[in-house]
């Protein structure tokens, strides 16, 4: 730990905090996260990115930081954490805090729900103090922040009060101190966002691409590893720069295409990549977005992004949500858009609308070794896994339930999937023939299929597919099946609740109009990706990466015409459609 500390400290000594009598340290801002991972997925629900000890059963290396203490003396220390599986077993994600080589007595990660747990007290001397997080289990302990105080009063737990308290402790001004201006701000660096940035950048727009991960690609990235499906449509040249081969779901082959994607995005002349920045607000005035604010997931630095045009490629439709765009969530009644498929009835489209959506996946990969590999018992996982055994997973490891919201309950859904995987793997490992299996990789990032769908001038539905509608503004095309998933336990309650099945409606080519790619009521907002304007069943086909990439490229080009004529996205359809469609047609050749 200290060998690592010395050079890092020298490097960062100028930014180390001169601490007051009480002070807050964000765990994600530690000098070194060691083997812990920065998890920014659930900021909107629990208040902050946090460090996650995702060791798949092997305790991870310590995370570590140092701080220059001004006033010494006895300090009480709290960690904001949670027991992620409360129950009648030892909490799986326990860790301890080490201060200057002294291990504080209390094991942490033992109380249900995010809150401050008391770690112990320590006498601090003025000067440099070293602090580290010691993972005890390798099973997803989590730490959001540490608070040191001479007083015995813990920080607040209420989320709203906590946010204000945090602002006060970090002396953060109300608005970001740095503002950047662009022609187009794209939020979300999945294939849709990347394609939007490339297309607009190639047409000469100054583009900001904001993405909350270090790696681009979203569900296609080597961090999530959902394989790429769909066709290129009119945008093969652009999409080949960022897509992946059709590797098996969860395969480490995804890493090969990650490098290609990241490198190709780095060289885009007009695109500024803002990696590890997570948007947290979008403000509109007179139904027009003025700016998007984003925060760095480790340093906490903030930037305000101003532009005349914005693309929501966040998947969850956050930019639309914050700015007041109309959106839908759940399944429409079968009669709303006449999306009936007699064969599957209620599983396909319900008689009455409900809040069901397709679920999220966590993919994983195992290796088979010549020697016995031990995997410890995970009693806390068996409530979920029950008797299921598995040494491999696929896309159908998917979870959705009608008391859970894919956004608001994202952490619960991710944790449920981790328990499903760890428990099923542990069950399989009790068999002699599985002795050599090792859990080589388990994603900690949710691969979401469906959540908010922003409403555009046209809502793309299954009916558009059945009627083979060829719109005057067909900018995206696809031939893959309309593919809607359901949880297996809806048909047979004895099945594990984390396994799904797919219903495939095979069809010929279908088209998505440009009018499904901009907001109905926010005048300067495009959307690309799974938050485009569609019904639940309509999403079934085009929700995959190349198709969403087509959407991104299409809106990137539309943005260039918006700039050229000084108009909003809708006016491109109303007044410049021929030029726009011609611009799309010209995309197969290299731009001059």
């Amino acid at each position: 730990m200290f060998r690592l500390f010395v050079p890092l400290f020298v490097f960062c000594s100028s930014i180390c905090l001169k601490a007051q009598s009480d002070f807050l340290i964000e765990a994600e801002s530690f000098i070194s996260s060691g083997g812990w991972l920065v998890d920014p997925q659930f900021v909107e629900q629990m208040g902050s990115p946090y460090l996650l000890a995702h060791g798949m059963g092997e305790p991870v290396d310590d995370a570590f930081t140092s701080i220059d203490i001004e006033d010494g003396g006895k300090h009480h220390i709290w960690a904001r954490t949670k027991n992620w599986v409360p129950g009648n077993w030892q909490a799986p994600g326990r860790f301890q805090i080490v201060v200057n080589d002294s291990i504080l007595p209390n094991e942490l990660g033992v109380t249900p729900e995010w809150g401050w747990e008391y770690a112990g007290s320590v006498k601090l001397e003025p000067g440099i103090t070293h602090i580290s997080l010691k993972d005890l289990t390798g099973f997803d302990g989590r730490c959001d922040a540490l608070y040191f105080s001479p007083d015995e009063l813990p920080p607040p737990n209420d989320l709203r009060i906590l946010a204000l308290w945090r602002q006060q402790k970090s002396r953060e001004p109300r608005r970001p101190s740095l503002t950047k201006r662009y022609d187009l701000v794209v939020t979300g660096g999945g294939l849709a966002g990347c394609a939007a940035a490339i297309a607009a950048g190639e047409q000469g727009l100054k583009v900001a691409l904001i993405h909350d991960r270090p790696l681009l690609g979203g569900n296609a990235s080597s961090e999530i590893r959902v394989h790429t499906l769909g066709i290129y449509g009119k945008f093969e040249r652009i999409l080949r720069q960022i897509d992946t081969e059709h590797y098996p779901n969860g395969s480490s082959d995804a890493i090969l295409d990650q490098t290609k994607r990241d490198q190709n995005m780095q060289v885009q002349a007009n695109v500024d990549l803002h990696l590890n920045f997570r948007a947290y607000n979008a403000v509109s005035q007179s139904d027009s977005i003025q700016y998007v604010d984003a925060r760095h997931t480790s340093s906490g630095d903030r930037i305000r992004f101003e532009a005349p045009l914005f693309v929501d490629a966040t998947g969850d439709g956050w930019i639309g949500y914050w700015s007041g765009a109309e959106f839908s969530y759940g399944r429409e009644s079968v009669n709303e858009y006449d999306e009936h498929w007699e064969r599957w009835g209620e599983l396909w489209s319900p008689e009455e609308p409900d809040n069901a959506v397709m679920g999220s996946s966590i993919l994983f990969q195992t290796t088979l070794e010549d020697t016995t590999v031990v995997f410890e018992n995970v009693p806390w996982a068996l409530d979920v896994a029950k008797g299921h055994e598995a040494v491999a997973g696929e896309w159908y490891w998917e979870f959705s339930r009608n008391d859970l919201h894919q956004i608001h309950d994202g952490e619960q859904i991710r944790d449920h999937m981790l328990r499903a995987i760890f428990g099923s793997f542990a069950n399989a490992k009790t068999k002699e023939e599985n002795a050599g299996y090792r859990l080589q990789w388990v994603s900690y990032l949710l691969g979401k299929r469906e959540s908010r769908r922003l409403v555009g001038d046209h809502i793309f539905t299954f009916r558009d597919v059945l009627d083979n509608v060829q719109f005057p503004d067909s900018v995206v095309q696809e031939i893959r099946e309309i593919d809607v998933h359901y949880q297996e336990n809806l048909v047979d309650e004895e099945k594990p609740d984390f396994l799904s099945k797919a219903l495939f409606y095979r069809t010929g080519k279908y088209y998505i109009p440009y009018r499904s790619l901009y907001s109905k009521n926010i005048s300067n907002l495009f959307m690309a990706g799974r938050c485009f304007s569609c019904s639940h069943v309509g999403l079934g086909g085009p929700r995959v990466m190349r198709t969403t990439g087509q959407m991104g490229a299409a809106v990137g080009l539309a943005a260039s015409l918006c700039k050229k004529y000084g108009v909003d996205p809708r006016t491109i359809y109303e007044s410049h459609l021929a030029e726009y469609m011609q611009l799309i047609e010209s995309q197969q050749s290299d731009p001059e």
């Binding site: 409360p86 249900p112 064969r343 339930r401 008391d403 809806l490 309650e493």
Partner: protein, 309 residues
């Protein structure tokens, strides 16, 4: 189409005698069988006519295995034969040794991507018979049966379906029941609710629910089964109970320890929204009694009590 009755004169099935030519390029041969459907229009089985066995296109008679295979194919409502034309099922790409030729003309081959899909489903050498029968089984006959049943379904008939042991009959019965009939059979429907699939439970709940705050006898019985049904149905029961206010929440108090965290939070939020007088019995007789149990989510109850008290 004929109705088949049992000894009590209850309708138990439908039957149709099929005499149809199976033709290819003007060459036809007869196909004679009896087809049977159940009361919901689902395929039950077939028999041959006396002295008229089934044969393949090259006149070879069906073997015992072929008869069984045909039945298996006809049981498959979602066979690849659905939505496919005969032309799509035949390919000329098969090696000559695998082709079946009749009167000098190739009539069936079994290779290629499309045909491979059905290769194991159809009787070898009898693709056309299989295709014709499958489309007879799932064609107009089903519509006719459903129309007949919908028009002639009596209460006795619906009860017969509810009392049957086949799950698809239960859903069918619920579909046939109007609001009045639903409320007249609370005991039967509760019994079905206990053993049917989550999808049928959802259907029963939709049919049983009214806009009234007050719970019907049937709804009370369904809520009483809270701990015996699946997790998704439980959410639907909680939502219904919440709509009825304090009586519904009280009716659900026994189920608190079986609730997920989110379900408990829904329940407690509804309890919190009640007037103090209405809330008190729920706290005293429900929440307090369960706040120290072995359930994994009792901490949610404890947090509520800390806040409430």
């Amino acid at each position: 189409m004929h109705v088949v009755y049992d000894s009590l004169q209850q309708t138990i099935a439908f039957r149709s005698e099929i005499h149809t030519p199976v033709c290819l390029e003007g060459v036809c041969k007869p196909l004679d069988v009896l087809l049977y459907w159940d009361l919901s229009g689902a395929y039950l089985g077939y028999t041959t006519l006396e002295g008229v066995p089934l044969t393949k296109f090259d006149h070879d008679p069906f073997t015992a295995k072929d008869y069984l295979q045909l039945h298996t194919l006809l049981c498959n409502r979602y066979s690849a034969l659905d939505r496919k034309t005969l032309e799509e099922l035949v390919t000329s790409e098969a090696p000559s040794g695998e082709r079946i030729v009749f009167n000098g003309m190739e009539v069936e081959a079994i290779s290629g991507a499309t045909v491979k899909e059905i290769q194991e489903e159809v009787v070898h050498g009898a693709l056309y018979s299989c295709y014709s029968l499958w489309h007879l089984v799932y064609g107009q006959a089903v519509t006719s049966i459903k129309e007949h049943v919908a028009k002639n379904a009596t209460e006795r008939f619906v009860v017969q379906l509810l009392d049957a042991e086949w799950s698809h009959y239960w859903e069918y019965a619920v579909r046939l029941m109007d609001d009045t009939l639903i409320q007249r059979h609370p005991v039967r429907l509760a019994a079905v609710f206990q053993k049917c699939s989550p999808l049928v439970r959802k259907r029963i709940l939709q049919k049983a629910s009214s806009d009234h705050a007050e719970l019907s006898d049937l709804e009370r019985r369904l809520i009483g089964l809270f701990e015996e049904v699946d997790v998704n149905t439980r959410t639907l029961l909680i939502r219904r109970a919440i709509k009825s206010g304090a009586p519904g929440l009280l009716a659900l108090k026994e189920g608190m320890n079986a609730m997920t965290k989110n379900q408990l939070e829904m329940y407690l939020k509804a309890a919190e929204a009640l007037e103090p007088n209405s809330r008190q019995p729920i706290v005293t007789h429900g929440i307090k009694l369960r706040a120290n149990s072995e359930s994994n989510h009792t901490y949610v109850l404890q947090q509520f009590l800390n806040k409430y008290e």
